[in-house]
């Protein structure tokens, strides 16, 4: 599979996953704020929840795939940064998103 085409596919596929997750996440955030839930009350609901752990775990993986590919395109087209350098930098950015995201999910769900 040619790399540019594989990245195109990965970005579209991750967008397909992200679209409903983002909508649910935003709805959830608005619901939690309007409901006046405190941080402790939110954590009480998420701690130990396998469901929320899977939901946000999937979110993190999809975002870690999606964002670096888009950023790579922007850097290549606007700054002309091509070759191995940009690929390594964006791979590192993807790993950073993944690590920070999993760390956050783990803290919120305790799993």
């Amino acid at each position: 599979m040619p790399v540019p085409a594989a990245l195109f596919l990965a970005q579209r596929a991750s967008a397909l996953v992200l679209a409903p997750l983002v909508l649910i996440h935003l709805g959830l955030a608005i619901y939690a704020i309007h409901g006046g839930l405190s941080a402790a009350e939110i954590l009480a609901r998420t701690q130990g929840s396998l469901g929320w752990s899977l939901f946000y775990g999937l979110f993190v993986v999809a975002a870690a795939v999606h964002a670096p590919i888009g950023l790579r395109n922007v850097l290549r087209e606007w700054l002309g940064w091509k070759g191995v350098g940009v690929n390594l930098a964006l791979a590192a950015f993807g790993v950073l998103l993944l690590v920070l995201g999993i760390r956050a999910v783990s803290a919120v769900t305790g799993i």
């Binding site: 040619p2 085409a5 195109f8 596919l9």
Partner: protein, 242 residues
């Protein structure tokens, strides 16, 4: 010559990449095309003006220029259309291509990318074989027919924002040709054509801005062709064929 309604003020790009505009005053004529204006300047005012044309009837695709900021085929563009009724016409060579001199752009990168996109038919039969029967009503043939009348003028290439920012991008015309081959039952190397379209600088670089379709003088829709290639490419990847 004074600036009256009978006179057109024309600013013409002179020199190479670092040239400058030169002003000419050209008599206004009814139904005058932009190419008529350029020809008048070369014949009557300055014989050293370099430009390119051949058929004058919108078939050869050689007279593309930037007219008042837009890429156009100059032989079929009326001055009124290009100027929007004002008395000033500004002419430059096609963008995103090297300038040879004055209004003549070097089309070499355009045709090199055409080849890089494998924009050429690969036959499967010899003259000893029977004619390949094609059903004109088949959906694939209709898709090919809708895209086949490209005159290689380079207007879409000069209009494309991605071509302007990404020197590797093959451009709308070359990919449109690849799309016609993908829909041509006589094509013997569809796999190769799709591989070329999927490589770096291929169909996945397109941002779907649609400038190619907006500016194509023969009203083709290269943007739809590139989208078709993206679709074929995704299907091939998901189906494990590449």
């Amino acid at each position: 010559m004074s600036d009256t309604q009978d006179t057109l003020q024309v600013r013409v790009w002179r020199g190479g990449e670092d040239g400058e505009f030169q002003a000419f005053a050209v008599p206004r004529r009814e139904h005058q095309t932009v190419l008529d204006v350029v020809t008048y300047i070369q014949r009557e005012l300055d014989p050293t003006l370099a430009y390119r044309f051949a058929c004058r009837v919108g078939m050869c695709g050689s007279c593309g220029m930037t007219v008042n900021g837009r890429p156009r085929w100059t032989c079929r563009t009326h001055v009124d259309t290009a100027t929007g009724g004002s008395a000033v016409l500004e002419l430059e060579p096609l963008r995103s291509l090297p300038v040879i001199r004055d209004l003549a752009a070097d089309m070499t990168p355009f045709f090199e990318k055409w080849q890089a996109a494998q924009g050429r038919a690969t036959g499967t039969r010899t003259r000893a074989d029977d004619t390949h029967r094609i059903d004109p009503a088949s959906p694939r043939r209709q898709a090919a027919d809708a895209a086949i009348e490209c005159i290689n003028c380079g207007v879409c290439y000069a209009a494309c924002d991605v071509v302007a920012s990404d020197p590797d991008y093959l451009g709308p015309a070359a990919l449109n040709r690849a799309w016609t081959l993908m829909n041509d039952d006589r094509e013997g190397d569809r796999k190769g054509v799709l591989a070329a379209a999927m490589a770096g600088g291929g169909c996945h670089s397109c941002h779907s801005h649609g400038s190619c379709t907006e500016h194509c003088p023969v009203e083709l829709n290269p943007s739809a062709g590139v989208a078709g290639l993206k679709r074929l490419s995704l299907l091939a990847m998901v189906g494990g064929k590449v």
